[in-house]
Symmetry: C2
Subunit: 312 residues, 2 copies
Amino acid sequence: MSGRGIFISEVGPRDGLQSIKSIMPTEAKKAWVSAAAAAGVPEIEVGSFVPAHILPQLADTAEIVAHARTIPGLNVAVLVPNFKGAQAAIAAGAHKITIPLSVSETHSLRNVRRSHAQMLDEVRQIAELIRSLPAGQRPHFEGGLSTAFGCTLEGVVPEQRVVELAVALMEAGCDEVGLSDTTGYGNPAQVRSLTKAVWSAVGRDKLTGIHLHNTRGQGLANALAALDVGLTTLDASLAGLGGCPFAPGASGNIVTEDLVFMLEAMGLKTGIDIDALFATRELLAQALPDEPLYGLTPLSGLPKGFEPATRK
Amino acid sequence: MSGRGIFISEVGPRDGLQSIKSIMPTEAKKAWVSAAAAAGVPEIEVGSFVPAHILPQLADTAEIVAHARTIPGLNVAVLVPNFKGAQAAIAAGAHKITIPLSVSETHSLRNVRRSHAQMLDEVRQIAELIRSLPAGQRPHFEGGLSTAFGCTLEGVVPEQRVVELAVALMEAGCDEVGLSDTTGYGNPAQVRSLTKAVWSAVGRDKLTGIHLHNTRGQGLANALAALDVGLTTLDASLAGLGGCPFAPGASGNIVTEDLVFMLEAMGLKTGIDIDALFATRELLAQALPDEPLYGLTPLSGLPKGFEPATRK
């Protein structure tokens, strides 16, 4: 795989910050986004357009999008739960909009109080809104298949159900779907199998990325499986920010620093300067002094004589 | 890979305990070995025959070997640094003896004050001693290639150097060699490449196992790479015991619980009852109350509806 490029999507400012109690000051978020982009991170999910009373941590998402849009070359992504969120995301100028759809309908009803049919209606409305925009102003629109690897409420999620909803999301107007191991239930065999199954149904170019959690320590092994099967976009969170509320010591999202080390050590270019990435972590430590930070490579340091692929 | 068996060698009583300051009481060690074996762990490295003034934590190794030998079906392994240690190991009745050889000669000189030539002399003497034993009483004799993935003193360790020393160990009389990522420098591409290179030189049946550390969070990804390439024996330490002295929060050895979860979830039978394994972890928590325990699966719990391969 030597020389191949892998696309890292930093989701810490969204998935990390929404999972902690502390509210990061807007200026600190801007500094984080700027520093990550300067380190070479190509895409950052900077927030989520949800009502402020639900996630006060992300109430300033529009302002963060506006700031991120001033950074040349950075792909600015956001999460939206519904049509209204998508309107706000488009108004703010996001390059990429992801709407999560829980494959477990129980989870969907519990989490956003919407059935699959209702969620797919939202997707159709958003797709229509995007199509109405002038070409060149249309954000990339992804449907995120959450709980795709299993659900804490329903347990096992059948592969066929994931495939059906991937097809439904594409038919409803998404540009692409993504796989999300919301619960940290996934294993490497499942990553490979599920990716291939979805590819068979929607086409290989319509699923390129995966969102993995490290709840059971499987994050990087699952990422390796994703690379092996041929996925090229990996979500990760700086310092594993957000953790896992029901498992003290468990990071939530996979840790950007450890992931970038793995990729660069394997000869896969991320375009990210790993030393600059480690320095960015310090911003988090300062802005969120009460939050635990995860990731082992920054603590252990890079191997003596290590040459990252990106510098070669 | 469904249905294939993977052999877990529990090294916590040796590599874990030698890395911590606390000295586990002999009775607690015996209870641990018994519980792990009862959970289905097929091999346990129960100690190391080193002088007690160097590693007082392992001073009771002969007694632990004797206890472990009473457990039907358990393969009892020990580490030895030299001929004298091997004599003690044989007297105690170990089934398997591993002598580590640092591929980095700087590390070898610093660690055991012996050059490669001196270490290979020890290996030859041990092999001769083993050959002199009656058939059926000869322990399996492994040469462990430590610092095979890089050295904190020398930095990059050339693959060819690992291969040469693998050949030298086999010529000196080892039954088998093993790869050891002592420093946690390894990455999945390197695991595959190095395994294949050593196989080319000594034959596939002379390298079946790997000893991985999680110093930079790469442990399970490297284990997956090892499985993919075809290695079948994986060392691991319950609760990642031992940690990593230079990286607070970093486990040393890969965590048995997370590894067994990965394998069983992938459909690879370990023969280990994962619930009984988690229960064994409690023995450590009680016997070593001041030591941090690692591993995320025991904290997060098994996925709802999870069916381990071993129970299928």
